[in-house]
């Protein structure tokens, strides 16, 4: 009469979940899966659509020629590509040092319970969610008009730098936080100052995380169009920028300009440029994921 209970080989393999209402549970699981599938399928359709539509124009003329409103069949996006490089260069120049150093202050120096630190923290969280067009207003009022930098590469670089600063600070702080305290304590115990510890031990250990965050932040800046609409990028530009005070256009803005034209050739051109932009962004994302996977350290 007595039954013996045989203990399972691996207790974690045992499914504790109840088995009641199997139909409702299965349906629920399928509904959830469909929710997720919608996003994935949408992404697939979008990529397929722009690739197919832009295919005829995905030729070297796309990066060798300048934009043209008269002859769309020969127009390219060279000035937008060089403009993007210039603007992102300045964005990185301003945003990276400030972002890294600000994050080091918040993570290594600031007293976490002080009122000021908490204020800065909330402030950064809010800035991360401020609409990008509002940064455009800031750039227009302060950089372009008040500081009289005009509608130039440097105005765009400064504005986008402020836009991506929260992303860089948050990801750098996460990278620094992942460095175990033992390393800091060991260094401090050997007589290093706080800055020596930070510069020679903590920051080098956090480099992969910082690099990943940087790439993601810059890829956001590359795709950003809204603030630049206010900063003069919309004007028709068929020359490469010559310096920080040159007029410019960027890839997303060029796409927007072509989207506004009614002729079908321009829509094909816009698709081809979108493919170019997405290839750049996906490549950057792939590098970021690669760095993350390669250097994932278990302390």
């Amino acid at each position: 009469m007595t039954t013996t209970l045989i203990p399972p080989a691996d207790p974690r393999q045992v499914d504790l979940a109840g088995k009641g209402q199997p139909l409702a549970d299965k349906t629920f699981r399928w509904i959830l899966f469909v929710c997720l599938a919608v996003g994935v399928v949408f992404l697939g359709v979008l990529l397929a659509y722009v690739t197919i539509k832009g295919w005829p124009r995905l030729t070297p003329t796309l990066w060798e020629n300048m934009p043209s409103l008269r002859r769309p069949e020969q127009a390219g996006a060279q000035s937008a590509i060089t403009g993007t490089l210039w603007v992102i260069g300045f964005t990185a120049l301003f945003a990276l040092p400030i972002g890294f150093l600000g994050a080091v202050y918040m993570e290594e120096y600031a007293n976490p319970s002080s009122r000021f630190t908490r204020f800065v923290e909330i402030n950064i969280q809010n800035l991360a969610a401020v609409p990008s067009i509002v940064y455009g207003i800031l750039g227009l009022a302060i950089f372009a008009r008040a500081l009289a930098l005009g509608q130039t590469v440097i105005t765009a670089g400064l504005t986008l730098a402020l836009l991506v600063l929260p992303v860089i600070i948050v990801s750098t702080r996460e990278a620094l936080r992942a460095v175990p305290q033992n390393i800091r304590h060991g260094s401090l115990a050997l007589g290093a100052t706080l800055w020596q510890t930070t510069w020679r031990q903590t920051m080098p250990a956090a480099v992969p995380g910082m690099a990943t965050g940087t790439i993601l932040a810059l890829s956001r800046a590359i795709g950003e169009a809204a603030p630049l609409l206010l900063l003069g990028a919309v004007t028709f530009i068929s020359f490469n920028p010559t310096g920080p005070f040159s007029a410019y256009t960027t890839l997303p803005i060029q796409i927007y300009n072509w989207t506004k034209e009614s002729r079908e050739e321009f829509q094909i051109l816009a698709s081809a440029t979108i493919v170019l932009l997405l290839v750049i962004l996906l490549a950057m994302n792939a590098v970021a994921i690669l760095i993350r996977n390669r250097t994932q350290k278990r302390w």
């Binding site: 979940a17 109840g18 088995k19 009641g20 209402q21 409702a24 549970d25 699981r29 959830l32 899966f33 929710c35 997720l36 996003g39 994935v40 992404l43 979008l46 659509y49 722009v50 040092p97 400030i98 600000g102 080091v104 202050y105 800065v120 402030n123 969280q125 809010n126 969610a129 401020v130 609409p131 990008s132 067009i133 509002v134 207003i137 800031l138 227009l140 009022a141 008009r145 402020l162 600063l165 100052t193 800055w195 956001r220 590359i222 795709g223 950003e224 169009a225 809204a226 609409l229 206010l230 919309v234 997303p252 803005i253 796409i255 989207t259 816009a270 698709s271 979108i274 997405l278 994302n285």
Partner: protein, 312 residues
């Protein structure tokens, strides 16, 4: 060795304590502090840059007229500045976007957090991240060229080329990753003990997900919703490209409408003379947009703090 230690101790000096002041360290600390303060200056700069021209704007147009009248015609000979049509456009498109993003985002989050096997997660999560990384100008192009043309036109033949529906749908898909990843974080923070307890009482996986995990993570999930709504309100390129630039006081999503953001983009991209009332109107609408999103962000930040405190 012990002699030196004793000597210095006798001299009142602790050898382990640093004696020389290090000015370099102080300078570095100051530089780092300045870098952290840039974020505060940014907020300050935003407030100043929208507030001052807005005040000048409201000196000419009464605040009540701006907020409560229903005609927005800044380019007419007799311009009128009633912001409600723009708010209405923003609202209609946001509602469409949220109606899509909240169920799909939450469903995706529950699936990823409670159902997906680790291998599937490893593929699905980065895919959603890619969706989040697509530039909004691309979404706008897709809304106008594909969703309106090939999806909506066959269903609603009378639809405008520029319409709120396509912009709202695409914006909803764009926000899914925001809602999904924040909700999933909140669900991951729910202690495994709660789930095991429910299972021990005979609950099924669905019951655990809906009656234990989701309620336990609710403040984080709501924070994700609020942040998603805030993103929808602030999104610019999709509406500028796909929803048209005509202020339109209507609930009909098949018509084109202008939002607060697309007005700012359209007016700011044109060559507006500094100091003109039209130039100032950009900032007045910007101020309204900033205030709305600011309050939503604050609600979201508060809610996230609450769930962090609860489970730490």
């Amino acid at each position: 060795m012990s002699a030196t230690l004793a000597e210095s101790a006798a001299g009142g000096l602790n050898p382990l304590r640093q004696t020389k002041p290090r000015y370099g360290e102080k300078v570095i600390r100051g530089i780092l502090f300045a870098a952290a303060a840039v974020s505060i200056l940014t907020t300050f700069g935003i407030v100043i840059s929208v507030l001052i021209p807005s005040l000048e704007f409201f000196a000419e147009i009464p605040l009540t007229e701006f907020l409560f009248t229903t005609t927005w015609t800044p380019l007419f000979a007799n311009p009128q500045y009633g912001v409600l049509p723009l708010v209405m456009g923003t609202m209609v498109i946001t509602i469409i976007a949220v109606a899509i993003a909240i169920p799909l985002g939450l469903g995706s989050a529950i699936y990823l957090s409670e159902y997906a096997k680790p291998k599937a997660r490893k593929v699905l999560k980065p895919t959603l991240e890619v969706l989040a990384g697509i530039p909004t100008v691309v979404f706008g192009f897709f809304a106008l060229e594909f969703i309106t043309e090939f999806v909506l036109k066959p269903i609603f033949p009378q639809i405008d080329i520029f319409n709120a529906l396509s912009a709202g749908i695409v914006m909803g898909i764009m926000i899914i990753p925001t809602i999904a990843s924040l909700s999933e974080d909140a669900m991951a923070a729910v202690p495994a003990g709660l789930r095991d307890g429910a299972y021990a009482l005979g609950a099924t996986k669905r019951q655990v997900a809906l009656r234990v995990v989701v309620p336990a993570a609710l403040s984080g999930i709501v924070a994700a919703f609020v942040l998603g709504i805030s993103r929808a309100i602030g999104e610019t390129m999709i509406v500028t490209i796909a929803a048209g630039l005509q202020p339109n006081m209507t609930f009909n999503p098949l018509e084109g409408m202008q939002t607060m953001t697309s007005y700012i983009a359209a007016a700011g991209a044109g060559d507006v003379a500094t100091g003109s009332i039209e130039y100032k109107s950009i900032f007045a609408v910007g101020l309204l947009l900033f205030v709305i999103t600011f309050f939503m962000n604050m609600i979201s930040i508060r809610l996230v703090r609450r769930y962090r405190q609860a489970y730490q």
